[in-house]
């Protein structure tokens, strides 16, 4: 099998079970809330309209935003809880609306007949109204199922493992196979659940006990098979990282490590460099005997909150990012002063320990095609000011709201430039193909050299330094052996090595773990 595909399949038990558990729990609780609420509200027009309006407002919040909002609302908790809450809220409207509409749509004559015959309110509800409204209610449940299974892929950035991991990671590393893999499984899961629910309804309506038992059994089997890895340690556990041809397995030191049996959770944001470094740290810690858990694809501030609240133990972050978005300091300072001040501040404020700099810097740099720069005679950022009106700058989703862009714009007179936000993985191709003139590149990206881009000088020193640093959560810092195990990484990775590792993933289509293996060997920690 293609190693990429093999690696995707190796991740499947964990991600699929996470996805199924999350969706089914959200749907079950959503149904347990909306069904009784709908039954209670349906006879009262005014109340029914009010609850439907509230549910509709929740529905209008974009899925990703609802998930992200749950993190601060739950006091910074990441993972299962915020994802569950958001999806559960998301499942309410379709079930609630269809319950109310279904019950209100039952023929008035039939209801009067039931009353006139002497059925109690409860008998009328269970024997007449609910059975007659059932097709409409089930249609709502099916809508909710398809929505929730689809929206559960958005649980990845808040730290709940789901099939969305394939999509987010695939998008960042340009691994389209991974994106398609995630989509196919998410869509397949939605279709299977939808059809099983439909068959359940047919069985209920036609009163076919045999069909009901078979469909119920099938549903149980699907759910149990999908969630089994959550509860049972499979005999064949996740296989060792798949290695490219000619590569030798990377095994570090002895089996008996200082971290034997310790659980360590590594957080990572959603781009190639973060995946590679998380893989690298994972290898180093596993060599010491630690059991490593990964929390990939977290949002930039979500991952910091997770570190602060001890939900993850280790994170690679960048001095300039902490400076601007966490410390809210607009003015950049000298590289070493920033590192020193940031380390002290993090420890004082949160007890977060800065273990040290990895050695390379991954800064924002304004890059453009070499031929285009020559055309405009641009070497430094200030040279672009006269052309600002005709230029468009592309950047990742957050950069245009960050102080880096705002101070650059103000310092160099870029006010007239138009901006275009896109996923970071697409911006290098966009500038190469002339769709934008300039991008806010990451200076360690391998595509800068590969695409013949030049990074313009910043003579005014507006752009802050971005030294990569290893951060430990307050609890992790107190844990024996963890800092020692990671110490060899401090100062070990220079910009050239990091750029090459990124290039392997972004351009050579290697997996992050392959690139991490290469990097380990390069810095002398491998075999």
């Amino acid at each position: 099998m293609n190693p990429n595909l093999a690696e995707r399949f190796a991740e499947l038990p964990d991600l699929l079970s996470g996805h199924v558990l999350l969706s089914v729990a959200a749907l079950a609780v959503g149904m347990a809330i909306s069904l009784p609420l709908g039954i209670f509200a349906a006879p009262h027009r005014h109340l029914a309209n009010t609850v439907l309006n509230i549910a509709s407002v929740i529905q209008t919040i974009p899925g990703l935003a609802l998930l992200a909002l749950m993190v601060p609302l739950l006091g910074g908790t990441i993972g299962y809880a915020p994802a569950f809450m958001a999806l559960m809220l998301y499942s309410i409207l379709p079930i609630l609306r269809n319950t109310i509409v279904g019950l209100q749509g039952v023929d008035r004559g039939v209801i009067e007949a039931a009353r006139g015959l002497g059925l109690t309110d409860r008998e009328r509800l269970w024997q007449v109204e609910l059975p007659l409204a059932l097709p409409v209610i089930v249609a709502g449940l099916r809508t909710a199922t398809v929505w929730v299974v689809g929206a559960a892929t958005l649980a990845t950035p808040v730290g709940a493992p789901s099939l969305g991991n394939y999509i987010f990671a695939g998008l960042q590393t340009r691994n389209w196979l991974s994106v398609i893999f995630g989509c196919l499984f998410a869509a397949g899961l939605a279709i299977v659940l939808d059809q099983l629910i439909r068959l359940m309804e047919v069985a209920a309506r036609e009163r076919q006990k045999g069909l009901a038992i078979r469909v119920g059994g099938a549903l149980m089997i699907v759910l149990m098979a999908a969630t089994l890895p959550r509860f049972v340690e499979l005999p064949v556990n996740a296989p060792a990282p798949v290695l490219a041809e000619g590569e030798t397995p990377t095994r570090l030191r002895a089996e008996e490590g200082a971290l034997q049996g310790a659980r360590v959770r590594i957080g990572a944001k959603a781009f190639s460099e973060q995946y590679i470094l998380a893989d690298l740290i994972e290898t180093v810690l596993e060599a010491e005997g630690a059991e490593v858990e990964r929390r990939d694809n977290l949002g930039s501030t979500i991952v910091f909150d997770a570190l602060r609240t001890n939900e993850i133990d280790v994170l690679v972050d960048y001095t300039g990012t902490i400076w601007a978005t966490i410390m809210n300091r607009p003015e950049p300072v000298d590289r070493y002063a920033m590192f020193a001040e940031m380390s002290g501040w993090l420890y004082e404020q949160y007890g977060i320990v800065t273990l040290g700099r990895l050695g390379f810097e991954n800064a924002y740099g304004f890059a453009m095609r070499a031929d285009r720069a020559a055309e405009l005679d641009a070497r430094a950022l200030g040279d672009l000011a006269p052309h600002a009106r005709d230029l468009q700058v592309g950047g990742d989703a957050e950069v245009f709201t960050r102080s880096e862009w705002i101070s650059t714009r103000d310092a160099y007179g870029f006010g007239a430039m138009s901006t275009r936000a896109m996923d970071a993985t697409f911006m290098y191709d966009a500038v190469r193909d002339g769709q934008v003139d300039l991008i806010t590149a990451y200076t360690t990206d391998g595509r800068i050299a590969a695409y013949d881009l030049v990074v313009l000088n910043d003579p005014l020193g507006v752009l802050p330094p971005y030294d990569a640093v290893i951060l430990l959560s307050p609890e992790a810092a107190a844990r024996a052996g963890l800092a020692d195990a990671l110490a060899p990484l401090v100062g070990a990775i220079d910009s050239t090595d990091m750029r090459e590792a990124n290039r392997l993933v972004d351009l050579e289509r290697q997996t992050p773990s392959q690139a991490a293996g290469w990097l380990l060997n390069e810095i002398g920690l491998g075999e």
Binding site: D107, G109, V110, E112, A113, A114, R115, G116, L117, G118, L119, T120, E123, Q127, V128, P131, L132, R205
Partner: protein, 259 residues
């Protein structure tokens, strides 16, 4: 069977005023002897259906009292009351998700009868309304004609063996031939089983043919009640004569054509 002298149902100064002050029914006095069929007739909106629904408490009377089998219904639990009174409505009101058998058996089941007794009752009822059990028992209402559905409606109303049956425009949705057959069949059933009945109809001819006694309503009040013969011979006011004129004129017209 109760003493023929004691009425099974008595309405005394019954009134219904809706929120907002609309007086739908005022000062209605009625009495129904065991085995008697009373027709409430009048134009749409005259309050006849409201009177009917107050008898089994589908509507709550806002004044006066209603006595059923010697007890004021205000003191009887509505569900308990309704299970003792048959209910047949316009357009049958059958449960579309129940088979014919299940529709008829619903009240016996709610009354907690054993399955064998319920089944026996279904067969008995279907025979009474002249529907073949084997042919129709497992059908759903949408697979029946209008007349067949109304027969099931009668069977369902009579399955609990009620002493009183209430009918709200039970025949008006049927074509004339089916209506005629069903009217006669119902009369026969009523004579055979001996229950009392109050039927609401806007069709004066139907009231004249079927009822032992007719109460004519106008604007929420009873303006005349008596046997069909009494009404025909001595209408109390011009409005009653007007109602009686319609069937008479039709009969004359047909007779002239035939002559």
């Amino acid at each position: 069977m109760a003493d023929p002298a004691t009425p099974i149902l008595e309405l005394r100064s019954v009134a219904k005023t809706y929120a907002g002050g609309v007086e739908a029914v005022r000062g209605v006095d009625l009495s129904l002897a065991p085995g008697e069929l009373l027709a409430l007739t009048g134009e749409s909106g005259c309050g006849k259906t409201t009177v009917l629904k107050m008898i089994n408490r589908l509507e709550q009377a806002s004044g006066g009292s209603i006595v059923f089998e010697g007890r004021d219904i205000a003191g009887i639990d509505p569900v308990h009351l309704r299970r003792q009174i048959g209910w047949v409505m316009q357009g049958d009101g059958l449960f579309p998700h129940f088979t014919v058998r299940e529709n008829i058996a619903i009240l016996p089941k709610l009354l907690g009868w054993e399955p064998a007794r319920c089944e026996l009752r279904v067969r008995e009822m279907m025979k009474l309304v002249q529907l073949d059990v084997d042919e129709f028992g497992e059908r759903y209402p949408q697979a029946l004609s209008g007349g067949q559905r109304q027969r099931v409606g009668f069977a369902r109303a009579l399955a609990g063996n009620p002493g009183l049956v209430l009918m709200d425009e039970a025949f008006s949705a049927l074509d004339p031939i089916t209506r005629d057959t069903l009217q006669q069949d119902f009369k026969r059933l009523q004579t055979e089983l001996g229950f009392s009945a109050v039927m609401v109809t806007h069709d004066m001819a139907e009231a004249l043919i079927m009822a032992d006694r007719i109460a004519v309503m106008r604007d929420g009040e009873i303006i005349q009640q008596g046997t069909p013969r009494e009404l025909l011979r001595a209408p109390s006011e011009a409005y009653v004569s007007q109602l009686l004129d319609t069937p008479r004129r039709q009969i004359r017209a047909i007779a002239e054509l035939d002559a």
